[in-house]
Amino acid sequence: MQQYILRRLIQMAFVLFLFSTVVFTVLRLVPGDPVAAQLGLEAGQEAYDQLRHEMGLDKPIYVQYMIWLGEISRGDFGTSWRSHQTAISLIQKRFPATIWLTLSAMTIGLLLSVPLGIVSGVRPRSALAHFATFFSLVGIALPSFWLGLMLLLTLSVSLRWLPPSGYISPLVDPVMGLKFLAMPSVTLGIGLAAPLTRFIRSGMLDVMNADYIRTARAKGLIDRLVIFRHALKNAMLSVVTIFGVLLGSLLGGSIITESVFNWPGIGTLLLQAIQQRDYGIVQGVVLFISLIFMTINLLVDLTYAYIDPRIRYQ
């Protein structure tokens, strides 16, 4: 097991290295001169050379690459070409908002999908099962930004129940914090619940027909026990994977939903950096997100071993 984790960590480091190389190369190929973009048109040659030197762009490309690798391995993910703030400090400032949004969206997503998925898997012909099917079909096709805008339109513009955008940590001001969180997390939560419902439902359907469930029932176990102790645990196996992928993309900042509600998270940080062509921040955020995504993938694989003792990693 330890060996497996070690191997995965080495693999992760390798992919991250690959990724950083690609990001480095690609961002140097982008058309446009970052120095000129910062200085404006009026600046003289001297100021230009000065800034170019400060940004390290006058060195040969392989030297720039070595410097960049050195910085990364020390945990320095780059510096803004505009504000001279480090990417890490900006990420630290923005990450709590994204974590809050992720946690509340996850809660809403699970509260909707787990009961719906279980009931429709166990009683596939019930009214609730039909509703679950309808819900997941609609939810998967629904563009999240449109859902968000429609919520804004009704709850904020027309009814004036909720503030249209903004953020304050629920730890600082719980009431306002939750009011700000409500619409973005419902938007994301529904987007999350739709595919999850589907997965839980098909996982339950598969398991409910299995021999050991029939045995458990034949033993005379009550339904609830069969469902929760025997079926659910096995059905969850496939759900964990999809859940991990969804969690990873949420923590990486759901750029579109964050943008709809002006949520000051990782997603909007990346979007602003792209719009301002601040590639120092872009590369830092991109690496940070891929690191999170890979860590969660690793945790998902380790969770497998916990849920299903048959799985042993070599």
């Binding site: 992919v15 690959l18 990724f19 690609v22 690609v26 961002l27 190929l29 982008v30 058309p31 079909l137 609609v138 998967i140 096709a141 629904l142 563009p143 999240s144 930004f145 449109w146 805008l149 429609m150 804004l152 339109l153 513009v157 439902r201 098909s202 359907l205 598969d206 990873g248 993309s249 990486g252 900042g253 759901s254 750029i255 579109i256 943008s259 709809v260 997603g267 990346l270 979007l271 792209i274 719009q275 872009v282 991109v286 997100i289 891929s290 995504f293 890979m294 993938n297």
Partner: protein, 298 residues
Amino acid sequence: MTNISKPLLEGDLQSQRDESRGVEFIKSTLRNRLAALGVLIVGLLILTAILAPWLAPYAPEVQFSSDARQPPSLQYLFGTDIIGRDNFSRILYGTRVSLLVGVASMVLAATSGVTIGLVAGYYGGRLDTVLMRTMDALLAFPAVLLAIFIISVLGPSLLNAILAVGIVYMPSFARLVRASAISIREKEYLESARAVGLSDIQIMSRVILLNSLSPIVVQFSLGVGYAILVEAGLSFLGLGVQPPTPAWGSMLGYGRNYMSIAPWLTAFPGLAIFVTVLGFNFVGDGLREALDPHMRRI
């Protein structure tokens, strides 16, 4: 006489069986009511895209300045925007962008992904490792963010949106085809194909590809819906199709600034995206059920 008629009879039976299998396939797809609805929606969308100039009451760029910001009415079915362009006509024309991006990006993803998957699965070894690790690296990043990153490098345009979505979706096809290539690599009929003297390329394209065609078709159909969603998201952020080309995503992005005074500008394009994606998903789900008997009870 019997000698001649026997093979003929067998051939007849075979073609009859093929025919009934084809009919059965279409029937079982359409018997699924949702799939039939999906086919209807997609069919109507294709017609709309082709016939947009004849169906649209006005040209999409024409500005009726005196009729700016009109709510939906008989004259302007979906209202007009801030500079007086007909929302309904623009949505009809927007079908073209969505379908184009959806299909073109999936063609790109499928051709590149299938080729990579075939080569990796068939040859195995180090080539397989390199190719699939690259695919894994692409998957080691949330899809929408990867698309946004690619756009940020290439610059926003219709073509780059197609490219970005195609690249993002490529690993799914590669994994799918690689898995089926590996599963049939050791089968006997592959050996006989080699014995007959088929080249590697012939084996890959005729034997392996044909055997994994049905999951590819399903993936393609579901992928189109997904691609349309991603493109709409990109255009919504201003990173996709650029104005004045009417695209649903950018129309939504434009309309959000005027939500309190002209809510119809956000409501209708979003509805169009939703119905379109729903249509392609219905078709994809229906195809999956028809092609994969295992899925039928789910």
